[in-house]
């Protein structure tokens, strides 16, 4: 009898570290692999897509770090207790953890004078003018105009102010920065958040930056000319030509000419009249299963999508994202590693086909030479993919949507030994040849 248990509410999260056990991770005996997440080692869960950073942490590791002066070993993640067990031990552990968190939060953050960076927010231009650039952040943020002045986008500004890396002033119609008004963090939010494109976008931006990525807006989302020139090819070359979605007939593998000829010929010859329910596989002599499968394929005319409504602006590429790399150059970053589209659960649901296609059409296909060749990998990666950052009132879930194209991978159906007709050698799936395109047309 199978009973699928729906968790009605999640386990009471009393999280305490059990350092002498973290290295086994055997509490769940059928989840064996260790995993790493956000630099915190120790594994309880095998599933590759489970993000332990979702879970409440035992903050006592913070105290340990503080004692050691920040360096040293990476703290280990603890293990959840199931419920309060009534022991003082557990209560004490919980209190310790909570106190460690408060202590960490209450630490005073200081800035040294020589690293002090200041900028002025220009509401009219919706950019912040940096007075003097200092620090590593500028390697991947801001942009210099023709006079050499560095300007920051609103998200860059807020991020730096949040981190305490920059002090911001409000532009009071004077070039003399000494008369400008200093802004609090709240004031910076109030002034600049709308210009980031909304809270959700900023949340994703900050999350990715904090994780170490370099993040720039998609050029189409830039409102200032200064930032529009990105120094790399970012649009699919033939996007306007309707590549991928045009009236194109899906093509099928080798041998289709014979299959098509045979089916048309045979049916006309033998059956005479038309039977709308004619079996797709006419009785006959088939020498391989490939032959049989070719007749089962339904050539599918790709339909043009109605363009009347146009693309849904809610499903568009928001950010171009690069993995952290030491030699990153903001003037010539090269093509991004990821395309991220920020959507909010407030005003979106799962994308419809039209929305998905609209989104894919903004993204270049992966260079055929660089595509995965193994069947599963190729299907998972797709011709192109986009990361949707689904923001649900502050909680971000990233999901990669890949343009899979199963129809381009015919699985081998003949056993390796019966290579009678020279088809079906081996088990590897074969790519559908582009050269057969015309044969598939009727």
């Amino acid at each position: 009898m199978e009973i699928h248990r729906g968790d009605i509410f999640t386990a009471l999260e009393v999280v305490t570290a059990k350092p002498n056990r973290h290295d086994t991770g055997y509490r769940y005996p059928y989840r064996l692999h260790n995993m790493e997440t956000d630099g915190i080692d120790g594994g309880l869960d095998a599933a590759a897509d489970v993000d332990l950073s979702d879970e409440t942490q035992d903050f006592r590791f913070l105290a340990a770090i503080a004692k050691k002066g920040g360096g040293g070993s990476i703290p280990k993640r603890g293990e959840k207790d199931f419920e309060p067990d009534g022991t003082n031990l557990q209560t004490t552990a919980l209190d310790d953890s909570r106190n460690a968190m408060f202590q960490a939060l209450s630490a005073e953050r200081t800035h040294t004078g020589k690293n002090r960076v200041t900028a002025t927010w220009h509401p009219a231009r919706r950019l912040a003018k940096v007075h003097e650039q200092r620090g590593v952040l500028f390697k991947s943020m801001g942009r210099a105009d023709s006079t050499g002045t560095i300007w920051l986008l609103p998200e860059e500004l807020i991020y730096m102010v949040e981190r305490g890396s920059l002090e911001c002033f409000y532009d009071s119609d004077s070039d003399d920065s000494s008369t400008n008004v200093p802004m609090s963090v709240q004031a910076v939010y109030a002034a600049a958040l709308a210009a980031t494109g909304g809270l959700e976008r900023y949340q994703v931006y900050a999350n990715l930056r904090r994780t170490g990525y370099v993040v720039y807006r998609d050029p189409a989302q830039q409102f200032d000319d200064l930032f529009r020139n990105v120094g790399y090819e970012y649009r699919p070359a033939e996007a306007k030509g309707g590549r991928g979605w045009g009236p194109r007939v899906y093509t099928w593998g080798l041998g289709i000419s014979r299959a098509l000829f045979a089916s048309v010929f045979q049916s006309a010859w033998r059956r005479g009249g038309m039977d709308p329910f004619r079996a797709m596989l006419a009785p006959g002599a088939y020498r391989s299963y490939r032959e049989i499968y070719n007749r089962l394929l339904i050539p599918r005319r790709t339909l043009e999508l109605p363009t009347a409504g146009g693309k849904d602006p809610r499903f568009a590429v928001t950010f171009h994202v690069w993995k952290p790399r030491p030699n990153f150059k903001k003037s010539s970053p090269g093509p991004p590693d990821f395309y991220v589209s920020v959507v909010s659960t407030r005003d979106t649901r799962m994308p419809s086909l039209t929305q998905v296609e609209g989104l894919f059409s903004e993204i270049p296909e992966i260079d055929p030479a660089k595509r995965q060749t193994a069947l599963y990998q190729a299907l998972k990666e797709g011709r192109r993919n986009v990361v949707l950052a689904v923001v649900d009132y502050g909680v971000i879930s990233y999901m990669r949507f890949s343009d899979s194209r199963f129809n381009e991978h015919l699985l081998d159906v003949d056993p390796p030994t019966t290579t009678k007709s020279g088809k079906g050698k081996g088990r590897a799936p074969r790519k559908v040849g582009q050269g057969n395109q015309k044969l598939a047309k009727k």
Binding site: R27, T211, Y213, L297, D337, R349, L353, M399, F406
Partner: protein, 478 residues
Amino acid sequence: MADSTPQGDAAVAAAAVVSHPAASSKPKRPNYAVIHADPVPVALYHSPPLIPHNPLSLLHHLYLYLFPPVSSHQTAYTGVFSPVTMSVEIRDPQAVLDLWQKGFWGKGSLSRSEPTWLNRELRRLGDTEVGATSEEITRQRRDQRKEMKKERARKEREELQKVKAAEAKGKTSNGSTSNGKPVVADAKVVVDLEEEINGLKDLVGGSLKSSAQTGLPTPPLSAADDVETQDTEPAAATSLPDDATPSPAKQSQATGTTATPSQPTTAVEAPAAKETITPKKITLENREHLQLTFQEAFFLAYALGVLSIRSGPDESPLSLPTILRLFLRYSSFPPLPESSISLSNLNPDNRFLINYVAYHHFRSLGWVVKSGVKFSVDYLLYKRGPVFSHAEFAVLVIPSYSRWEGRTEACREWDWLHSITRVNSQVKKTVVLAYVDVPTAEDVKGWEKEADGLKGVFAKYKIREVALRRWIPGRNRD
């Protein structure tokens, strides 16, 4: 179900099961590559080799080409449409075996996948000539897991008692240093238990000996069989010594098979024990049928043309139009009213048609497509079949109406998708959204007069797959 079950001809004697040949020293898995060599239940025609420079050979081939031997495949199998199970039922034992072996069609109505009910029942009643079934193996694994958890819970309770006793004595101190409490549960116990189980696995290493010998393939447990299963290697699917199976072992203890799970070495089939078993043969009526979904049945009947469907065991075969009408009607629950189904005014927005188009799409590309109901998806895609590997892809069929003017797409909420991707990532499957763009009634009007007929209707559905994967920033930085 009794009201539609043809009881008379369904009785199958256990004698049909081949008796146990002498035990070989090394247990082997059944040779699935041979048993399941054919991907569809259609026989290939093996013509003499073509010799291009021999005109006779060429002529012969031309002849075959133009006038193929029709006998190569016929409507070889018969199924019965059942309004009760809302499916097509196959009861002829040969048809059941064929359809399972050649393409993994259907599911045993009382089994997890392959029909094994009769074997299970025979073993339960003490028949000694039937091999272990995958269901029993799963059961054992679950029982072991249960035991392991029990043992763990016991250890935890003991530790808790100790801590409480110590605290009661006033030794509440921070005797345990800075980092909190000591281990409550003894991890070692769990590890040991686990090693023991793994040892058992290794010892009998995928042995399904008896079933291999009887020629009744017993598939390894696929993830589809067990939501809790975390094994990724099909070969690692546990199979335990037959003697250790609970009920039959107990019943046969009097006759001398006394291997206990704690003595795994003796559990590897000992030929000596064989002789002491009193052979027992039992005759039993098979209450199980092979159940084809409407998608599977229609593929076999329409696409391959190897299945005829009747409304009762003694009725004459139904025509394809009648079958289609039935399937369209029973595509939802409760079934649609008879009067709402029209073939000439075909409504393309019918759940059967949409699911069939998706099913046909993946089947025709070479995937073995099975129901994904246990993983909250529509289909699972297997490469070659469930006995060879776990399903890598879990397909959600998403109807789309971009051609329906003025119709707003009824998309699901994000949290629905999140829960499905979460469930499937736990079992290492990739969720694939299969968008099926539905043509309008206008688009398919007059289809029965077109040369392509029904195939032309299916061709008007557009399909597009999107593979999903949870993306974790912390793990994509390289």
